[in-house]
């Protein structure tokens, strides 16, 4: 019985630490920025990068995968989202529009990932301009 309690305390402690770290990560996103760049991946390949702060007017385009699957993506000033998809669960559509790096949009059936990352730290080739702007 004592052994049970010891083991339970240990497991409970490990789980608590995991919960705490996860909560901290979710509540306090790292790399918060004013502007983000949206990277669109399919099958692990970077299809396109869109700096969201450069978008003046909303527009849509369709991403077609190797298997013929389709996702209709809408880009708005400062945010991006999936309007419609031919995947069965539509989780990517239900997620709506994202405007920070906390949670990427993923359409697992179509292997599509839309990831935002802060604009400052990303562009190494135009680092000088960013330094001034920063």
């Amino acid at each position: 019985m004592n052994r049970t309690k010891q083991n339970a305390a240990l497991i409970g402690a490990i789980l608590s630490v995991l919960i705490l770290v996860s909560l901290l990560y979710i509540l306090f996103p790292h790399g918060k920025a004013d502007s983000y760049i949206a990277d669109i991946y399919q099958d692990g390949q970077l299809l396109t990068s869109i700096p969201l702060s450069d978008v003046k007017e909303a527009y849509t385009f369709t991403v077609t995968g190797a298997t013929g699957c389709q996702n209709e993506v809408e880009v708005r000033p400062g945010s991006i989202g999936i309007l419609s998809a031919d995947c069965p669960d539509k989780l990517c559509v239900h997620q709506g529009f994202i405007s920070d790096s906390r949670l990427p949009i993923t359409c697992l059936p179509n292997r599509l990932v839309i990831l935002l990352h802060p604009a400052e730290q990303a562009e190494t080739d135009s680092a000088a301009i960013d330094m001034i702007a920063y």
Binding site: N7, L18, I19, D43
Partner: protein, 168 residues
């Protein structure tokens, strides 16, 4: 396999498949792929505690194969199977450490392991490091849902254990 055991395991497979079907009728709670209640895990845990690890593994394998045939797409087999194996191994270990007591901890670790396994598959399939940002969300949801399926297993197990024939 003795007839009685075969029948009992078939009964548990049916039970677990019914729970799975019921759960897939519930609309997704949050728009994050991979987050679900995992109610069918209740049956795995009950069998692990009152039957044998072999019973649990057999029923789990049968349920995953049948549910993929009946409800899923082929791709979901990779997710279910990896998640199922991870969670079964983790729960087997934790259940040993806790001597069958405090099922809510066993369930929580099982849920955690299940989600970790699924995230690994997602990582392998999409080949995008970005999916790893789901990790904190999946850790939280796995522990929380697992905690409650573990509780449910300990309550239901007391009533259901008498039909597990391997003891009688």
């Amino acid at each position: 396999m003795p007839l009685k055991r075969l029948t009992t395991l078939a009964l548990y497979t049916t039970l677990s498949l019914a729970i799975y079907a019921l759960e897939s009728a519930i609309p997704p709670l949050v728009p994050i792929p991979g987050i679900k209640l995992g109610l069918a895990n209740i049956i795995t845990l009950i069998l692990l505690q009152h039957g044998s690890p072999r019973d649990a593994a057999l029923v789990l394998a049968a349920r995953i194969l049948l549910s993929t045939l009946l409800f899923g797409q082929f791709i979901s087999l990779a997710y279910s199977l990896t998640g199922g194996i991870f969670s079964l191994l983790a729960m087997f270990l934790i259940n040993r450490l806790l001597y069958g007591k405090m099922s809510f901890l066993t369930g929580a670790v099982g849920g955690l392991a299940h989600n970790a396994g699924q995230l690994l598959v997602a990582f392998a399939l999409t080949a995008t490091p970005g999916v790893l940002t789901y990790l904190p969300f999946l850790i939280l949801s796995g522990i929380i849902t697992g905690f409650f399926t573990g509780l449910a297993a300990s309550f239901a197990g007391r009533r259901l254990s008498y039909i597990i024939s391997s003891k009688s």
